[in-house]
Each structure stands twice: as structure tokens, then as C-alpha cells.
Subunit: 324 residues, 4 copies
């Protein structure tokens, strides 16, 4: 019953997935690792098989399921190869660099006739977001009317461009807002502070709800993701993400992480366990290829709306039956 | 050196001002109370003089300074009478029901040549807002780029209409945002949830800052005002407004007040002490007539922007030298 | 109806009382200030009368009530002079350096036949303690069974000796615990960390309740007073004493004050307003001379118990009828 | 490399261990389940082997490691059987019902010459306790001087007797306090509220530190475990154990669990993963048999000290070399 998993890519996320499969995932065995750098592949693989060609890893008989954590530009092509091979795949976000390419993955999966793709929008497995959704769906706060999101990075990487605040960071809020509200976005609008950072992005849903998101790439003080869901009877929001509070040098409080890894470590672990389990006993879990398409397609249109500053109606494909 | 103060109006706020003057204000004596209902005026006045005609109170020689807490429609007229009498006046917000009328008060004060009017935007004296401004002005969070405001009422009064969410409630955020940021608003835009409640109002300042405000008149769970100021180096926000935390019946936390009075009791007290002191030793404190005009003028244009849904440039008068 | 108040002593607390009387107290006028240093007395007095002899201030006809904030050793003698003059007095804690001397003040007040003395155990007026007592007395947490107190100073003054942790600091917890629980202490016991700091002091009440207090004179990180009251149905404790929370440099939280003044500023103000009001319209407020005796008498026996380490039954005088 | 694990007992904890091994533990396979009730054993076992005789499970060749979650009275005997079989064992606390029996387990392990026993004091794996220990050991708060523990249950089970507050509940604080402080307890003393609940238990360590623990079996409001570690430079304590905060019906805050399972779910999972890993790649993790002996031995002497009320020096065996 142990699932043989191959991991493509050994960067920050690839290495974390390898660690999770080895140390914290039930019912899985790491059987293959791929990296363009053969020495790196071998070093990370340990007693698993090492590959430099990702297509060879996907084709390998011992590999029953694939994790894709290679550079973004390769995601769509490798996911298509997994679909062709009939193997379940957990692909890091984004599913593709453009909505058109993402839609081709969707179409291939539809043609294959069954769900094989999970996109790694791991926030759906974060205990805080899960508790918020449970509160909403359980009726604790009444009908949702407004969602406040905050997404702050300590500092944008050097290679970040303005659009990446949307296509790389804000895509998380697109996915998690759709998931939390069980609703689809219909309009977007962007206000930008001087220099284009932070952005304040306002979306509306097909149920008339408002989704407000601050995306601040250079918030300086630390990595901080927050969400508050406002309902007609009450609200639910994230508690401070810490296990301890410290008093020291006139200060009371807690520390922020410098990046997203510590904040979402549990989410990645829970996602991996749920995905491995879904590969063996089903049903599919997490964000689908269709969810991946929508995140990318909406992000593209947010970038366009950033240029005009106007409230913009979204134009999106029709969801295939496979995802209903 | 004791200041003789007369209070016009004995409703919720008038009665609170009377109490503050009697029990918690240094250097003041309550010398007169006015209410259209003579019995009510006498009952509240105690050993102070009772009036039914507010103009008679203003004219009375024992009254050195006036607090106006009568119905909104009377504010501008009574404030003009105080200016004419040369007596300092603390007028409850709003200064006037329309921007035009507010501007007439401004013009009268300019003509009088000296500052006599304080408008009771008491949040400027709230310890939490004051600490936020001190943090910003002291450089603790770097240059301000974004301000998140939340203004939730448990339930709108029966007589509330949609526009009142703006003209009665949101005016507070207009004033406090200008004060916190030391900036002027240039554009407004409104997103509305189904039924027009809550509103999400976005303003931009002449320094390019973004001010986002949720106004929720029927938030159900309690009265809750929150603000978070985001700077380039950090943020400062209100702490939970409570002195104690309770564990009981599986619950940890604190209670919300049902309305604004407990939340801003300290602000009203500090405002009254500061105003009384300013009447005797100057300089003027709190929101000026000009600030009162701006709050009302911006609110009017937010109401118009609510109808169009579009980002709207504000059109405002030029500030007279008296307020610089 | 304005009460003429004279203040003896112009140190940290004397200067604060002068400020409170001038700026934040209703119905009072500062009419006299006394300091052994004539220049200092004159400087602080402003347009009030300046004295170098405290007995002269007490005797002065314009002085209707007296605040004693001179060195501890003078408290009992000056309080006796106020009783002799028949003038209400607010005396800073401790009432006297020994239980015997405190008892003489009690006896003098009993002989005078009416309550004239308030001892400045200001915590009784702190909004957090007041809300805790209200929660207990209102039945919100059931019958009290345990009280956890924490009393931490950033650093003990140079002139502090071991016993002062008890006689100068812990006396506050003796008074506030009696007041919160409406109970009398019956036993004490002390555990001491290496070097005698911190102390963990356990008291039992006549209702069988346990009072546990950490007194840490050199807690390094700041001035921090905390209390949690445990009842059979729930608990109530102090919330963090701050109006704002800050994110900066990877840190979330609030700052501690360096000493007690900012923490208890509101308590001193409320105490002064309540005392001034009680001087004109009664009844007596705050800690009585008897309360002052008990705090000092229990502290003396805690010092003795510190030496033995054993659980020690308290030996206390019988309360005169005047204080029932 | 997969470890075949057998679980003895299918009560609350046994069922949870079975679930953890199936769903959240890496490198382990559930191969056997034992319960005196054959039908229950079969139902829980699924496709694993079902046993009614625990000794048969321990002897089974497919069972490489054993989890003991049967009734307390059986722990020592079954652990001895595992030692005899040379198989690693994770035994739920307590290790034995008496210090003498616990010592026999220690002696058997010493005779076996290697560490096979882990006692399930799972708090050592709780992220909050782990972060506190890391803060202390990393120097963030200076040398530890005092530890405040709070251990509150909503309600004691019907079958609870007074001593069980110590032997069943307080044993957790004995173990975690030793572990946090890396110190040994030397004295104990107990104060009891009316009815014997809550208890306030004070221990001292061989480094002169003070450990204060409230044990309240009928705290009514929920299950709540808290710890604050006080050092010479600062303090570290548990943050509220919640991922979300809710506003509803005038209330802000979070919910307490009704018992320990949700609070320590992560700790049990991390313990199980660490123990499985230690069984295959070593070294031993968690509380040893010697730790288990000390918890039980100290608890016995706390029960005695409860009867006398006096500060009591602990009398404990000498640690064998195996545990150094």
C-alpha cells in the first residue's frame, strides 16, 4: 500500500517535499528525485533513484505519483507528461505561466477523463484557513459578506517585477478566497501606493461579496499573512501564528518569520499526507487544474486592471463538467 | 480661573458632557443647561441655571464657553451664535448637515478673525489613535502608505438610511484619517455588499496613500472600531479595547460594547479637559470648523460616489489662512 | 464647592499629584505646596502658596484637605497632624514604617470618631483590578478559590534591601488581594530563588482561598503587574496593558513601561477624583487607615516568614468598629 | 525500512495511536492490534492482525515495536515483556502505578543493557513547550529562576480521587518541569483550596529554581494547560492555543477544548514520528524509563506532602549510568 513518489526539482520547495515524504508522510516512499544537476540529484536522492531528465522520472515504473517543484516555466509541460502517463501529480503553483497554457492542461485532463492533477495551493490545508472555512460553512458567522486579506513579504526578491506581486503572490489570495467563500470572482480593481507597493486589490464575487487584499512585497517587518472573514452574524480571523510569547528588553510579543516556509510548514505537510492518501484511496484533494487555471487567468486580468485603475469585469472560461 | 460652561442639549451626549464637566473635568464649572423641555432642563441642571432657549444660554453672562449637543440640524446655527457672541464652542459632530452650511460657519469664524470653534471629533483624543499618531510621527513605522479602518456597529438604528452610514458614521474615519496621516483626501470610491451594508470605501491622499474603510452598520456582534496604519518600516494598530480577559463556558476573550459610548469614554473625557484648558490658556485643540467642513464635504461626495461605483476625484474648497 | 487641597512633598509622586489636581481633577484647587527646599516648593507651587513646614500647611485655613507624598518616615506623623486638625488626608503608602506606628494612626482616627484617612493604595482604582472585582462580585466566575499575582520591576533601586521587596512592593498585593477577595489573610509562606529574588509568596485567606504572588525586583524586561483570579466557574485576568500593537523588525507586540507610573497613571487620576469628591460629598473611598495597618502588619510577618521558610499563621489586631 | 508496529489497547489513546500510525506517521506500518474484546480488536485492526493476548502480540515476529495504551495497571508488566523480547516500546504514562514497580522496569532495562523504553509524556514534543525550552537553552531569557504551570481540567471524571489530581494529572508537570529546566526536584509542598481542588504545588530544584503549579480538576470553563518560564533576562510562555479568533454575540476570543486530546494532538503525532524514527535509526527519544520512575516517585511524595502541608524533601533513587 506504500505509494512510490518521485520529486522533480530540488530547490527550496523540492527539498522540503523530499523531507516531508521521508520524515512526515504516511504511506509514501520517496523512490526518485530529478534535478538537471546530476550531482545535486544524487545527493538529495540518497537511496532513491536519481534522474536528470524529468520525463524519464515520470516514465519510470517505480514512480507511481509525481511531485513537480521545478522552475515555473516547466510546470505545464511536465504536468501534461504526467497526465499522458496516467500518473497523479502534485504540481507547485502556478500551474502555468499564462492562462492559455493552463487551459491546455485543463483540456488534456478533461480529455483523459479523470482527475490526476493537484496544484499546490497549500493554504487550503493550513489549519487557520481550514478553521475559518469550517466556521463559515458551519454557520458560526452567518452569510459571508466581506473578506479582508493581508499578504506581506519582508522584502521582494531582486528579480521581482511589479506584475509578480500579482502573478506570484496574489495568486494565493485568488485561490484561497474562492475556496473560503465557495464563490467565483467577477470584478477586480487595483489601488497602488507610490512606487506600486503595496497594492490594495478589490474583487467582487458572483454572490456580491467583497474581497479586499493588501499585497505588500516590501513590508520590512517580516512575513505576515492574515485573513478576516466577515459574516452577517460575526467574524472569524487568524490568530497570531505563534506558540509562545516572550518578554524581553521592554518588549512583549512574538517573532515573525522571514519568509513563508515556517508559516506554512504544517500546510505543506498536511497537503502531502492528504495527496498521498488521495492517490491510493481517492478522491482528489486540493486545488484542481481548473482552480490553477482560474488563479492564473484572474491574475493576468488583475495585472491589466492595475494599468487602468478601473473596476474591471473578469472574462473567464466555462468550467468543464470534470470539475463540478 | 474656573471656566463657566453651558451645555445645550441633554440627550445621550449632552448628559455625558454634563457628567464629565461635573465629575471629571478640571477647571470647569457647569453653570447652565438648556433643553427645549423645561422640566428636563431643570432636572439635569441641578444647581446650575436651566434654559429652554439656547440663544439665551449663549447670551448669558455667566456662560463663558458653550457645549452644543442638541439635534444635528441645530449645530450650525448655534455655532454661528457662539461665534457672534465671541464665546468658545465645542460642537458635537457633524458641524452642519451640508457642506455649504459648514462652509458658512467657517466663513463666519474667518470673519471673526480668531478660532472659537472645536468640532467634537473625539477620536483625536482617544489614547489608541493618539499612540498610533505618535508612532507614525515619531518615525517608528516609517512613511505611512496605507491605513485600514474598520467601523462596525452592532445594529443601525431604525431611522438610519443608507447615506447615514457615510454621513453619520464614516465621517469619523474621514476626520481621523486626515489627522492620523496629516494628509488630504483626493479620491474616493465605494464597493457595496448586497443590501448596501457593509460598504468598503477606498480613499487616496495627496501623498498617494491609500485609506481603506469597512463601514458595517449591522455587524451584529458588537460595536468595534479598529485601525491599522501601515508604514514602510512597520505597522501600528489598536490593541483589543479591554482591561480584562475572561475564561468561562469554554470561551476565552473579552466582551464588545453595544455602542460607542464605553469605547470612547476616555476620548470624551480627555477632549473635554483639553478643550476647557484651551479656552483658558489656549491654543485651540481638536477638530476645527475647517476640519468639520471637510468631513461633511467629503462625506457628501462619498454618497455620490456610492451611486456611481467609480473612483471619484474630490472637489473641495481652499483652506483659509486661519486654519494653517 | 471647590475643595482647596495642599500637597506635602514634591518628589515623583508629589509632582504627579500636583499635576493631577491642576489638569485632571474636577472640583479641586491646588492651594498649597510644601517642600523642605523652599525654592523647590515655590517653583512647584506656581500661584498656590508655598510652604517649607508641613505642619504649617496642614494648619493653613485655605487648606481643606491634604495629600501626603513626603518621605515614608514622615507619613504617620503628618497623618496624625491631619487627624488632629480634622482635615481629610490622602497619604501615600505605606501609612507607617511599622505596624505599631500604623496602629497608633488607627487609634487616633478611632478616637476622633470619624474617617479622615485614605491610604494611597491606588490599585483599587485601576480599571483592570476594578473590572476583575466587578466580575467576581457579579458572579461571572463563581466563588473565588485562587489568586495569582505577578509583580515585576525592571530593576530594584540601589537602596533596596531584601525586605523592601516585601515592605515596599508586596504590600500592594497584600492590599489588593484583600480588596479583590473581600477576605482576610491568615497564613503566609515564602519560597525564595537564589539570591532572594524572585520571591514566591503564598498566603491563605479566612475563606480558604490561596493567594500566590511572584515578587521579582530585577525582572529585567520591564515593569509588569499581572493578576488572575480563579473562580469555580471561570477566571478573569488583566489584559495586556497597552492601547496599540506594533510590527517592526520581525517583532509583533507592545512595549512595557520602565516603572509603575505609566501603568497606574489612570489609577492615580481616578483615585484623586474619587477622593476629592468623597471629601465634599462623602462617603470615604479607597484604603482606610485600618487597611494601611494590615498591609504593613502582614508585610512585617512575611519578612519574618521569609527567614524561616515555614508556613506561618498571621497575628493581627482586631478591627475597630469604625472600619466595619 | 518500514517499521512494523503493534498497538496494545484500543481506548481513547490506543485508537488515536492507531490513527496516527495509519494516517500521519512516516516509515511505519500498523501490523497488529490487541484488545481483550476480540470483536473490538478485529474492528480496529482492519487489515492488520488482531490479538486478544498482549503477550502474543509482543511475541509476534511481524511486530518490531510496541505501543502500550492498555489500562494503567498493565503498563509495567507489558513493558517488562517488551524488554524481555528486546523490542522498543512506547508506553503510555504512567510507567507503573507505584515507584517501586517503576523502579523494577528501570532495573530490567538496565539489566538488558540498552534503552528500549519510551514513556509517553508527550508534552516534550508539544511545539509550545519545545519553543520554550529552545528559548531557555538558547539564552533568550537568561538563567531560569521560576516556572509557573497551570493545569486545568473542565471536570474530573467520576472515578477520580484526590490523589489522582497528583498521580494522574500533576505527573505531567513533574516530567515537563524537569525537562524544561534540565534540573531535578528536591522539595515539594502543597496548598489546597477548600475541598482539595485546586491544589497549588510548589517544588524546588537542585539549582534553587521554584516550580509553582496550579492543578485544578474542576475548572469548569475548559481544558487549559499553560506554562510561563521566568528567567533573569526575560520570560517565555505559551501563546493562546488557537488558530483563529472569533467575534460573535458581543464576544471576542477563542474556544477551549473540553479535554486534552485536541490540545496535544500535534504532540502525539510528533512523538509518534520521532519514536518510529528512533526505532530504526536511533537514538532514543522522549521520556525514558528513569523519567517515568521519577514522575511516579515524586507524585507519591507529593501525595504524602498534601497530607502534612509541610515543605518536604524528596527521597529518590540514584540514576543508573544507562540514563546519563
Amino acid at each position: 500500500m506504500t505509494l512510490g513518489v518521485g520529486v522533480i526539482g530540488t530547490g527550496v520547495m523540492g527539498a522540503e517535499h523530499v523531507r516531508l515524504l521521508r520524515e512526515e508522510t504516511a504511506g509514501a516512499a520517496l523512490v526518485a528525485v530529478c534535478d538537471a544537476d546530476a550531482a545535486r540529484a544524487t545527493a538529495v536522492a540518497g537511496d532513491a533513484a536519481a534522474f536528470t531528465d524529468p520525463l524519464a522520472l515520470i516514465a519510470d515504473d517505480g514512480v507511481q505519483a509525481v511531485v513537480i517543484a521545478s522552475p515555473d516555466a516547466t510546470h505545464a509541460g511536465l504536468t501534461l507528461a504526467c497526465i499522458a502517463a496516467g500518473k497523479p501529480v502534485l504540481c507547485e503553483k502556478p500551474l502555468a505561466p499564462s492562462a492559455d497554457e493552463a487551459l491546455r492542461v485543463v483540456e488534456a485532463e478533461v480529455a483523459a477523463g479523470r482527475r490526476l492533477v493537484t496544484v499546490g495551493y497549500m493554504r487550503r490545508f493550513d489549519p487557520a484557513y481550514a478553521a475559518m472555512k469550517q466556521a463559515l460553512d458551519g454557520g458560526a458567522i452567518g452569510a459571508a459578506v466581506l473578506l479582508h486579506n493581508i499578504h506581506r513579504n519582508a522584502a521582494a526578491p531582486d528579480w521581482f517585477t511589479g506584475a509578480m506581486a500579482v502573478t506570484n503572490s496574489f495568486v494565493h489570495e485568488i485561490d484561497i478566497s474562492r475556496w473560503l467563500l465557495s464563490a467565483e470572482m467577477t470584478t477586480v480593481q487595483v489601488h497602488a501606493a507610490p512606487g506600486g507597493d503595496p497594492l490594495l486589490i478589490t474583487m467582487e464575487t458572483d454572490a456580491g461579496q467583497i474581497v479586499s487584499t493588501e499585497v505588500f512585497m516590501n513590508a520590512a517587518y517580516g512575513y505576515h499573512v492574515h485573513a478576516q472573514l466577515v459574516g452577517r452574524d460575526g467574524t472569524v480571523e487568524m490568530a497570531p501564528p505563534t506558540t509562545t510569547l516572550t518578554n524581553r528588553a521592554l518588549h512583549h510579543g512574538h517573532q515573525w518569520p522571514e519568509n513563508w516556509v515556517p508559516r506554512f510548514r504544517d500546510a505543506y505537510r498536511i497537503q502531502m499526507n492528504a495527496w498521498v492518501r488521495s492517490c491510493t484511496v481517492g478522491p482528489p484533494v486540493g486545488a484542481s487544474a481548473w482552480d490553477g487555471y482560474l488563479a492564473t487567468a484572474i491574475a493576468e486580468q488583475v495585472v491589466a486592471a492595475l494599468a487602468t485603475g478601473a473596476r474591471t469585469a473578469l472574462s473567464l472560461a466555462t468550467p468543464p463538467d470534470l470539475y463540478r
